[in-house]
Symmetry: C2
Subunit: 422 residues, 2 copies
C-alpha cells in the first residue's frame, strides 16, 4: 500500500464528513458562499498574484514552455473573470431537490424521485489555476464536497485560492472541508485517492487526453470524462452548397483546438461540385487537406494541394488546421463511417432532405447529432446549461455537454401510512 | 493476451454490428419478436425440458447441491412463466425515442434530449436458465444487442433457449446476433469479454455478491450492479407502536433472503416500551436477535433471549432470520448510524413527526428513503416500473430499482438552418 494511502484516506473521510452539511444546505447559503468568494477573490488580488508570480518563476526555472506558463499566469482580468464566474454560478438554478417524477401507487404509497448531490467529487486538472475556483463553485452549488487536485506547477496559486474558498465556506456557515485543495504535488497521492471508491463518488479529470487516460486506468471510482472529439460534418446530396461551406468552414476554423471542431468532412458524390470552392477556402485559411483518392482528383483539377489520407487519419483528432476529406456514395456510407471512425462526440449533416435528416438523427450514435448547424455549437453554454462541467464522452450517467445536473444523482422517496408487502 | 481474446472480440463485434438494427427497430417489430418468442417457448417445451434434464443429470454427477439443482430445474410452469414474461415485456412502453426535454435556443436552434439504447449489453448470471429469456427480452425491448452468459451448469438449457431467441429475432426481421448466448463455460472467456470496453457499453451481473464483486474487479466496462442491502428500519420517538411493529415484522419476515429485507432495527430510547412486544413477536417467528447492551437489558426483563451484537453485525447483510437491534438517543444518531453502517440501499423511518420525516428523507443517503412503509416495498414491480433489471447500488446512471430506462442513454438532437458559432 502506498505511503500516501493514509493521507488520501484522511482527505477523503474529511470530505465525506463535510458532504452531509453541503447536501442539506439550502440555495441561499450556498449562494452566500459563492458571492463571498467572489468578493474575497477581488479583495485578495495582490496576494493571489504574488503567489502566482512565485509559481511562474519556479516554472521558468524548471524550463516549462512559454505556452504552459501562459496558461498558468493570472492577472487582474483573470481574477475578475474568476469572481464573475462565482457570481454566475450563484445565479444558476439549484439542481438539488428537483423532483424528476412521481405519483401515487395503487396501494396509496406516494413515490417520487428527487435530485440529490453525489457526495464527494474528486477534480483532477492541469495548470490553469482558475479551474480551482470554477470546480469549487460547481461542486458547492450542486451540494457536493470536493477534493481539488490541480497541477503541480500551480501549487502556490492554488493554495492561495484554496484559502479563500475555505474562508468563504466558513463565513457562510459551511464546513471548510467542503472544498479541499490538495497542494502536495506527488502523483502517488492521486493514485491513492483514485483507489478510494468507498469514499469518493466521482472523479472528474479536466485536461488533455493523457490526463484522462491516466485517471481512467488508475481509478476504481466512476470517471466523468471527455476522451476525444473526432467530429464529422457530412454534406448530403441535397445540401445547400452555400450553407454547407459556411458550416464546414466554421466547424474547422472557428477554433481548431477545441474538441467540437470538425476533423473530417464527408461529402456525397453528387455534391462533389461544391468541393473545389470549399477546399479552396479552407486552403486559403491555411488548412492542410488530407484527402481520399476521389477528393484528391477533384482538388488537383482545381489546383488545390492535398495529402493522401491514411487509415489513421479517419480516427485522428487533429485539434489543428488539418481536415480529412472523403467522398461517399450515399448516406449509408456516411453514417457507417461516422459510427466506425468517430468518437461518438458530435456529428453534423447538411441537407435539404427530410428523409436524410431523419436517418442521420436516428442512426448516428453520438452524444450530439446535428442537422444544418456547425459542430462548434456542441457546448454547454450554447445548449443553455448555464455552467459546463465538461463534455462527456461516456454513454452512462451524463452524455455530451454536462451541466450541474451531472454532479447529482437521485433518490427515491417513498411515503405511506403503514403499508407492508403482502 | 488470453487465448479467448479473439473469440470474445468476435462475439462483441457481432453484437456491435447487430446493435444499429435494434436501435432503429420500431416497437411493433420488437414486440413481434417478443410474442413470437413466447409462442416458441411454449411449443418447444419438450425440447427445452430434455436439454434441462441433461443439465440436471450433469449437475448431479458433479455433486451440485439440491438447492442449486432446484434453481437450475425447469418445468412446464416455469416455461409458461418465461413465455408470460416475454408477453409482459411486449406490453411495456418503449423507452427508446422518448424526449426528455427540449426547446428553442436564442439563435433559433431546436434542441432536445432523446432516449436511445446503450448499444451492446453483457449480462452475466448464475444457474437459473429463465434469466436467459428475461435478459434477452429486456435488452430487446430497450433496443440493445446483448451477450448472455449464464451459469456453466445451465449450458444445455441456455443453448436451447438461445436457439429459440434467435429464431424469434429472425422471424421478426432482426439480426440473430442481436442476442447471443454464450455456451462456452470457460471463465477466461468472461474475463476476455470484460476487457472489451471499446465494444461493450454495459455489464449487468445478476447474482450473488461474489459474482458481482468478481465482475466489478475484472471489468473495464461500466457495471450496473447490486452489491448489498443492509437495510434499516428506524422507529422514531413518536412512532405509532402498532404500525412500527407491523413494518418491522414485515421488513424482516416477509422474505428474509431478499436484499430489501430489514437487517437492523434502530429504536428511539423513548419507544423502548414498544420493544418487548416487537422482539417477542420476532423471536416467536424464529428470528435471532443480536442486541446492543440497552436492548439486551430490555429483552432480558421480558424473558427474550438475545446475542450481543458485534461491530461487524451493524455492517452485515444477513439474508436470514437474524436482526440486529440498537437503541439510539435521537434521530441524529439514527441517521448517522444508517449512513455509516448501511449500504445506501433502502432505509425506513416510522414516525408521526413531520419534522422527523423531513429530516430522515433529506439526510439519509440511500437509493430508497421510506416513511411509514416496509423496506420490502423497495422493488421495481412495487414502484410500477413494469420490468426490473435489478436494484442498483450505484449512485451514477441508475439508482435503486431499475426499469428499462436503465438500459438506455440519451443523445442531444440539434437542428437549425445554417447556424454557426460566432
Amino acid at each position: 500500500m502506498s505511503k500516501f494511502h493514509n493521507l488520501a484516506l484522511t482527505l477523503a473521510m474529511e470530505s465525506e464528513e463535510a458532504a452531509p452539511f453541503l447536501a442539506a444546505a439550502d440555495s441561499a447559503r450556498k449562494n452566500m458562499a459563492l458571492l463571498t468568494l467572489a468578493g474575497l477573490l477581488e479583495k485578495s488580488a495582490a496576494r493571489i498574484l504574488a503567489a502566482n508570480r512565485q509559481d511562474l518563476a519556479a516554472a521558468k526555472k524548471i524550463g516549462l514552455s512559454a505556452a504552459m506558463r501562459e496558461r498558468l499566469a493570472l492577472n487582474k482580468d483573470r481574477i475578475t473573470a474568476m469572481a464573475d464566474g462565482a457570481r454566475k454560478v450563484a445565479t444558476l438554478p439549484d439542481p438539488v431537490g428537483r423532483i424528476l417524477d412521481g405519483g401515487v401507487l395503487p396501494n396509496g404509497i406516494r413515490i417520487s424521485r428527487v435530485r440529490v448531490p453525489l457526495g464527494v467529487i474528486l477534480m483532477i486538472y492541469e495548470s490553469r489555476p482558475n479551474v480551482t475556483v470554477d470546480a469549487a463553485c460547481l461542486s458547492l452549488k450542486s451540494g457536493n464536497a470536493c477534493i481539488l487536485r490541480g497541477g503541480r506547477e500551480a501549487v502556490r496559486s492554488n493554495r492561495e485560492l484554496g484559502r479563500l474558498i475555505a474562508l468563504a465556506l466558513k463565513s457562510a456557515g459551511l464546513p471548510e472541508q467542503s472544498a479541499q485543495t490538495v497542494t502536495i504535488p506527488d502523483r502517488e497521492l492521486v493514485t491513492a485517492l483514485l483507489a478510494l471508491d468507498r469514499h469518493i463518488d466521482l472523479v472528474v479529470p479536466r485536461g488533455g487526453k493523457g490526463l484522462v487516460e491516466t485517471v481512467m486506468q488508475g481509478s476504481r471510482i466512476p470517471v466523468l470524462k471527455h476522451l476525444e472529439g473526432v467530429c464529422h460534418t457530412y454534406v448530403d446530396a441535397t445540401a445547400d452548397p452555400g450553407m454547407a461551406e459556411r458550416i464546414v468552414l466554421n466547424g474547422k476554423l472557428n477554433r481548431p483546438s477545441t474538441c467540437n471542431a470538425t476533423e473530417t468532412l464527408l461529402a456525397h458524390r453528387k455534391v462533389a461540385a461544391f468541393l473545389p470552392g470549399c477546399l479552396a477556402a479552407l486552403a486559403a485559411a491555411g488548412v492542410e487537406i488530407r484527402a481520399d483518392e476521389e477528393t484528391e482528383k477533384i482538388a488537383k483539377k482545381a489546383g488545390i494541394q492535398t495529402i493522401p489520407a491514411t487509415e489513421e487519419d479517419w480516427r485522428t483528432e487533429y485539434n489543428d488546421l488539418i481536415l480529412s476529406v472523403k467522398i461517399v456514395p450515399d448516406i449509408d456510407s456516411a453514417i457507417h463511417h461516422v459510427n466506425s471512425y468517430g468518437s461518438g462526440h458530435t456529428d453534423a449533416i447538411v441537407t435539404r432532405s427530410l428523409a436524410a435528416a431523419e436517418r442521420f438523427k436516428r442512426d448516428v450514435d453520438s452524444s450530439s447529432v446535428m442537422v444544418n448547424v456547425s459542430t462548434r455549437l456542441a457546448d454547454g453554454a450554447e445548449y443553455g446549461l448555464g455552467a459546463e462541467i465538461g463534455i462527456s464522452t461516456n454513454k452512462l450517467h451524463a452524455r455530451g455537454p454536462v451541466g450541474l445536473e451531472g454532479l447529482t444523482t437521485y433518490k427515491w422517496i417513498v411515503e405511506g401510512e403503514g403499508q407492508i408487502r403482502e
